[in-house]
Structure formats: C-alpha cells, structure tokens
C-alpha cells in the first residue's frame, strides 16, 4: 500500500533530520522523505500536523512480568507499542533469572507470539544473578541475549566483577551494570539529604553511586570491557561518567525517566509512589542529569518499568468498570478466578458470567451480590457460576474459595 504521512515533524537521529517533512511509504518500506517519488500516488494519507514522525523508540529497561501470568507479556508488549516503543530491553531479573539458554529461547518465542514490541533480552551475568559464578554468557549471546547484566547493585565481590569483565571482553560482549555499592546503600529508601533527614527515612548516600563508578572505571581500565551503566542518579556520578568518556573509556549510561523530572521533595507526605530505586535525589542532581542529557554524557532515557510485585502474590483482581470490560480483561489476563457482581453498569453480571464461561470454561466464576433472593441464586448457577455468595458472607467464604483454588 502506498502511504503518505504529511506535515509531521520528522525526527530521525540516524540521518540527523529534525524538521517538518512528508514521509512516503510503499509496501512497508520508506521510499522518500521530503518530496514524493516520481509517480507516487498515495492510497492513504495521514495528516501528521502537530505530531512527531520518528523511528520506533527502544526502551532500555522494561520488565515484562515474564515468566508470569499467561498474557501478561502480551499486555506489556502491546502497551509498549501503544506508546511508540517498538523495542524493549528486558532485564534478567525474572523468576527464574535468565541464566539458561532454554529460558531465553522460550522468552523470545513467547515474544514473537505476542506480536507486540520486539524483545531484546539481557542475560544474567552470574548464575542465578547471585554475583558469584559466571553464567554461560557466550551461549546466551548465541541464543539472542544482547548484553549481560547484574541488577540491583554491583556484585559484592570485586574479583568476580573483574573476572566477568575479562571473560566478557574475550567475546566482546557488553556488560550492563547498576553503579551501586550495596554496603554503602544499605537499607536506604531515600537519597541522603535534607528531605531524608526531615522525614526520618533511612538514606542512600551519593558515595554508594560514586564509589561503584570508580570501581567500574578502574576495572575497565584493567580489562577494556565495554560497560553500559544503568540508572545514574547523582550529579557527582554524571561528572565521573563525563570524565571517563573524555578519557576514552568504552562506557555508556542511561537514566530512568523519573529522575529527569522528579526530586526528593516530591515524596511529600510519605507518598510511597515515589519510593524508587535509585532514590529520587535533589534538584541539583536533577539539573546535572538534564545537563548530562543535553551534552551527551548520558546516552539514553529508559522507563525502568517495574510492575509492582505485591499484587502478584495474591490473586489478581482486575477492576472492571463494566461487564464488557470484564470480558476484555479476562481475555487478556486469564485469571484463575473471577468475582462477579450482579449489578454492573452496562451488561449485567449474569449475562457476563454466561459469556465468560462459554469463552473461558476453565475460569471459575463466583457471583457475589447483596441480593439474597433464591431465584438469583438459581439463575447464577444456571449461567455457569461455580457458587453464589452473599456479600455479608464474603470474608470467610473468600478464604475458603481461595484456598480451594490455589
């Protein structure tokens, strides 16, 4: 199909283009930027006024909840696409960690099936991410890992890090490291400074990052390994990276998008949404990060997307706003168990139960309602509900149901 995208702001770093231009596509390939090719007749035209036309974005860090609930990967990879992200690098701290070729193959297969954003897996640098024994990184590279990472902090043992760098250098494999010295970071939850002092929160001092950076750079000088630093957070850290690049060390780095915008003061009255890793630092650090992005010291911004863990430990409850949405949700996330209220806006709960059971017979549906009428009970069972539970009993019934189903 011949497609013309008109009037957009074309941003293409590779060809150093940033300006208004039209883009012409034929049969899935870009055939011209600027002027239409001779004889080009668009079958479809998109008006991109006020929009940006760019190559797909690559997110250097997003967790895909894999291996996890069936369908989670699909949701995540489509969510990425919806945001213009066509490639996602996912870190190896899955459960189990990506330290075996079989796991990587499975992940790539599921990613292909999901047909969302393309997945670039990072392999674990050490077995089980334990920071002690090397993983089979050469084999992992063969099956598709783009680089190898240790998450959370540097390995405790510097000799392990040294050997890992030497080994990686052998095969010219890049290492992605979090520049955090974990004995200095301790159990801190907020950056050391006035805010942590005021709120009485355990703090993470700057030196947890800068000492880690010094360690990495020294070992790089000794081994020549290629390193990408994940999630810089401090102004002193940015300056160290700037100097390392000037010196010619083969190092790159990224920051999380939160650290480009937010600072420690945003924690406000203990809003735990702002408890991040690395922690939010001061405005001085944020300014240094912005300067670092502008002058190229920092190479990339990533989302550091980390779906919250706690939810996964319990039965996920989707909050459907209507019956139609409930069905969509079940299609996507395939829960084991659905608690259905009879009174839903739009399609009523019994109808919804009927449809759900016909499409997903393996999902158990429990109808809960404040209405105790006997005819409702019969209708619910007839629609396919496993049980009918009055709201007044929900507490104790829920425990029974959940233990039966886990």
């Amino acid at each position: 199909m011949k497609l013309a995208i008109r009037n957009g702001r074309v941003v293409d770093p590779a060809s150093k283009v940033d300006g208004r231009a039209d883009v012409f596509v034929d049969d899935g390939r870009i055939v011209a930027i600027g002027t239409a090719p001779h004889g080009f007749s668009a079958e479809r035209t998109l008006d991109a006024t006020g929009l940006i036309v760019a190559p797909g974005l690559v997110d250097l860090c997003a967790r895909m909840r894999e291996p996890g609930a069936d369908g989670a990967l699909k949701v995540e990879s489509h969510a990425a696409l919806a945001g213009g992200i066509t490639g996602v690098v996912c870190p190896p701290d899955t459960d189990p960690p990506l330290d075996e070729p079989g796991l990587v193959r499975m992940l790539r297969q599921r990613s292909r099936e999901a047909a969302g954003a393309r997945l670039y897996p990072l392999g674990a640098l050490t077995a089980g991410l334990g920071g002690e024994a090397l993983a089979e990184i050469e084999t992992l590279a063969e099956v598709g890992c783009v680089a190898f990472a240790q998450t959370g902090s540097l390995p405790h043992d510097n000799s392990v890090l040294l050997q890992a760098m030497r080994y990686a250098r052998t095969f010219d494999l890049p290492l992605w490291l979090r520049p955090v010295e974990d004995t200095l970071a301790g159990r801190g939850v907020a950056a050391a400074g006035a805010v942590a002092a005021r709120l009485g929160l355990a703090s993470v001092p700057d030196v947890a990052e800068t000492v880690a950076l010094h360690t990495v750079f020294e070992l790089q000088r000794a081994t020549g390994a290629r390193i990408h630093l994940c999630r810089l957070s401090s102004s002193n850290g940015v300056e160290l990276v700037r100097r390392a690049k000037r010196e010619g060390l083969p190092v790159t780095c990224d920051v999380g998008i939160h650290h480009v915008h937010l600072i420690d003061v945003d924690i406000g009255y203990f809003d735990s949404n702002f408890r991040l890793d690395p922690p939010l630092r001061t405005s001085r650090d944020r300014d240094a990060i912005r300067t670092g992005l502008a002058d190229g010291t920092i190479d990339a911004i990533c989302s550091d997307h980390t779906p919250v863990d706690e939810d996964m430990k319990q039965v996920p409850f989707g909050e459907a706003e209507s019956g139609e949405q409930a069905i969509e949700f079940v299609n996507e996330s395939k829960p084991n168990l659905v608690l259905m209220d009879i009174n839903l806006p739009g399609m009523n709960g019994l109808e919804c139960t009927r449809i759900l059971k016909s499409q997903h017979p393996e999902v158990a549906v429990f109808v809960i309602t404040s209405n105790n009428a006997e005819n409702y009970r019969a209708a619910a069972i007839e629609a396919g509900a496993s049980e009918y539970i009055p709201k007044s009993q929900i507490r104790k019934e829920l425990v029974r149901i959940l233990s039966r189903h886990s």
Binding site: A192, V195, A196, A197, G200, Y269
Partner: protein, 323 residues
Amino acid sequence: MAEVGRHPQLNRNGELHHLLSIEELPRAILERILTTADSFINLAEREVKSVPLLRGRSVFNLFFENSTRTRTTFEIAARRLSADVFNLDITRSSTAKGESLLDTINNLTAMQADMFVVRHASSGAPYLIARHVAPHVHVINAGDGRHAHPTQGLLDMYTIRHYKRDFTQLTVAIVGDILHSRVARSAIHGLTTLGVPEVRAVGPLTLLPGGLEQLGVRVCTRLEDGIRGADVIIMLRLQNERMKGALLPSAQEYFRNYGLTPEKLQLARTDAIVMHPGPMNRGVEIDSHVADGTQSVILPQVTFGIAVRMAVLALVSSSQRMQ
C-alpha cells in the same frame, strides 16, 4: 504527583484534625496547645482529676512498637478527659505491610473508635493511617520510626516555656544520637517554629544526619562548644544497638566525650535547665549528679507530658466534623 498544599493533619478550615508532626504545624496552633495545657496542669491537685470533655469518645492506643511509658501517659491523659481507653498491643518486629495495617484500622473503626494513638517503627506510618480513616476519626502520632514524636516535642516546648518564658532569646543544645532520634527532629521543628534563634545539634559525625543546616540548626561535634552559654540542654538517650555497630566504639568513650557531667554543665548558663525525654542511661549520656541535680527538670517533664497530651486530645476532638 505529590500532594501540594494542605498538610494532612489540618482540615479544610485549617483546624488541627490529626497530630502527625510538629513540622508544618502552624505556630498559632502550637501555641494554642501550650496554653490549653496550662488549664490541665492544676487538675492533678483537685480531688476529681478529670474533666468531662471527651465523655463518650473512644481512644484506641495502637502501639506497634513497645512503650509502656508513652502509652501510659496517653492513657492517663485520655482518662482524665473522661474518654474510654482501649489498649491494643500489636508489636510486630518488621514493618507491617500496608494491607494488614489498614485492615487493623478498618476493623477498629467498625468498633466506633474516635481516635487512634499510634506508635510505629516505620517513618510515615501514621500518615498512611490518617489517609484511610473515616472523616470523623483523629490520628495522633505517638512516634513513627525516626521521623517524629510530636507530643514529646510539644511537652519539651511546654517545659522550656514554663522555665524560660521567652523563646526568642534562647540558645538550645540537643545532644546525642540525633540521626536516629524522632524526639530530636520534633524538638528542632518546635524550637524553630517558636522562634528560637540558636539551636545546636551536638554529637559525633556518625550520629548527625546530613541536612541539619537546612533545618536551621548549628552542628557541633564537641560537647563543650555545643553547650557553652546554652539556656537549655536536651540530652538524648543513646541506644545500646548503636554501640555495637560501626557508629560508636563504646559507651565509655561516648561518655568521655559527650556525657553531661557537673563540670561540663558549668559551661552552660548558671540558670540553664537540663532535659531528657527518658528513660535515662545514667553514666552513658548523663551523669547521675546532673540527672538528680538542681538544674534538672526531667521529673517535671513527665507531669507536663500528661497535660500536653490532654491538650492535644482536646484540641483535635474540637475540630469541626465536616472535613
């Protein structure tokens, strides 16, 4: 984005609905608590030591961290206001996760609780509770992690006001483990709010948090510099755990450098008062002669504590029910 504007302890009319911290407590409210406490001091001399102000209200003491002293003073305060008091000892060693903490609160609200007095090991826990209680319920922070101990701060302010009257001419020294002390933080906020021109934090660098200067405090690493010419000295308790870690080598060395002895006390003003939130570690942060000496106001602090807590309970109960 973070909440900007109204502190969660104030309602829409600017009245005190919860007491979560002295930080951001408007000066007018702080002073009102102190003057209201004046009216409760004399009660102890009456035959009937209570007033009917909170009759019919239920106060629940939720202590997730052990403390018989603080809990007892709150209980006395609530009973002297004729409230019904219920003590729940929910001592958990690790941080209670959000869900179970809130579940506890929900259950108690169903039992018609009007007020929760909460002590918790996690900084910020009372804020979480305050966000989730029904609109008519009040939350009093009896100490959260390292963050705040507002009623202690208020009684410290009351004590200083009782002996010194004018805050705007004072030099106050806080000595000890300020890094881990919620008492210190609350005292600092109270002192700066009331206009104390010189607040000094005294201790070894391992026990002083960063960011103190931004709170308006002068840092001194030598006790002598810290208490020279001071009108008020607040001694903080040094906990045993600190002495085993990498922060301090031993109690003896700490006492040599930072313990308040009669000789060192002479560096302060002759009419200086010595305060301590208790319980004291005699021979570690304070010498017995000082603790029992004429300049010590440590015992009166306890009496003031009941009156101040009564004032807090009375004042939050007074806020209009429409939130």
